[in-house]
């Protein structure tokens, strides 16, 4: 048994079986189990997921929110049994894996991420066909490519018309 396999076996016991489905940029409600004496209660924390890092049992994610004008971030171990649930309430269109730029934003901008309808596949670059693939497609159907240029030209004209109308107004 290789060392890696040993490690996987060990970590396997600590990994949670019910995986939370969320992505960077999602607004989530995290429910954390908190023990107060003998009583257990759930404490919610909602905000934007700005980073996800680490692997295996060490994987964790950071949720950022603004409380009374002050940015608050909490990092949760993904596999901790203390995390009761992670529910996605809003999805957004983001182009990077770490949203640390949100830390520099103040006011409403701190929340403003373009919304993406729920239950839709992510629009990340990995899912787009590669540049090579797109090129091959264009070559295979040159006829289809030609009207596309025309279409864009038509759009330009429309825009021009709209602009002139505005001027008149």
């Amino acid at each position: 048994m290789s060392m890696n396999e040993v490690m996987q076996l060990v970590e396997g016991t600590s990994l949670r079986s019910d995986k939370f489905e969320f992505e960077i940029g999602d607004t989530v409600d995290v429910q954390v189990r908190i023990l107060e004496g003998d009583k257990e209660r759930l404490q919610p924390f909602s905000g934007i997921v700005i980073s996800r890092r680490g692997g295996g049992t060490r994987e964790n994610f950071t949720v950022r929110r603004i409380v009374e004008g002050e940015g608050v971030e909490r990092t949760f171990p993904l596999h901790s049994p203390r995390i009761a649930s992670v529910v996605v309430t809003r999805k957004s269109k983001v182009r990077r894996a770490k949203l640390y730029f949100l830390r520099d934003r103040i006011g409403k901008k701190a929340y403003r991420l373009k919304e993406r309808p729920m239950n839709q596949p992510p629009t990340d670059a990995a899912k787009k066909p590669s540049r090579k693939g797109r090129k091959a497609k264009a070559e295979a159907a040159p006829v289809a490519a030609a009207p596309a240029v025309k279409a864009s030209a038509a759009k330009k004209e429309k825009k021009r018309a709209a602009r002139s109308k505005k001027k008149e107004a």
Binding site: M1, M3, V6, M7, L9, V10, E11, T13, S14, R33, G56, T57, R58, P77, H79, S80, P81, R82
Partner: protein
């Protein structure tokens, strides 16, 4: 009963216990070890058992090693150490032990803390700050070119020389190191692994020796 086994460090990770607490643990692949020889006071002058871990490739082993292991009916081993016994009755597993007996982690069932011996990571020729945790001198305030220096290393004309055992710079690491009284988190007989809390000397994949500690458990005076 002397409890000692050989193994190798797999690496560190973190695990969660039932209460949801997170523990930083080192995974040690412990055993199986084979007894290569049982030494007795009558014959050898002291009581001990010799154990070996991990088979050596045939071409790596010399004739002496191969012959010695063959007496126990096993392949020559890469990592061989002796377990010193207080008396002949001190043997792990009692009298069942003989050359060729296999020992595994189950030996450590019920053991709360262990000593782990390994070879430290080599740090080369290091200064006193890294090697001994000296504070060094100030970074500014008129200090020039001596920021990481040890400072004074002793008195002047009397005794006229530097006293022995003054801690100075030099080779740091790549030496045998014992971490004592390390808490055992869990053992898994099926996997042949032991999880201990905290760090253990050495690189991942380096050989370690694990034995039951003689120290009192941590925090014994506070409880």
């Amino acid at each position: 009963m002397a409890k000692m086994l050989l193994g190798e460090k797999v690496g560190m990770t973190q695990v969660f216990d039932a209460a949801g607490n997170c523990h930083a643990v080192t995974v040690i692949k412990l055993g199986p070890c084979h007894v290569l020889q049982v030494k007795t006071a009558d014959k050898h002058g002291y009581d001990a058992i010799q154990i070996g871990y991990k088979d050596k490739a045939k071409k790596q082993a010399n004739q002496a090693e191969t012959g010695h292991a063959a007496k126990a009916g096993v392949a020559p081993k890469r990592f061989v150490r002796e377990v010193r016994l207080a008396s002949a009755e001190d043997k792990p597993l009692g009298d069942e032990i003989a050359a060729g007996t296999e020992l595994n982690v189950s030996l450590f069932e019920g053991v709360k803390a262990v000593d782990v011996v390994g070879t430290m990571k080599g740090r080369g020729f290091s200064g006193v700050m890294k090697r001994h945790g000296f504070s060094g001198l100030e970074t500014g305030h008129g200090v020039q070119r001596k920021h990481r220096a040890p400072g004074s290393i002793g008195p002047s004309q009397f005794p006229g020389h530097v006293r022995k055992n003054i801690r100075m710079n030099g080779q740091y690491g790549n030496s045998r190191k014992t971490s004592r009284n390390i808490k055992v988190y869990s053992i898994d007989v099926e996997q042949g692994t032991m999880l201990v809390e905290g760090a253990v000397p050495g690189y991942q994949g380096s050989f370690v020796l694990v034995r039951e500690t003689k120290k009192r458990p941590r925090g014994w005076d506070k409880a």
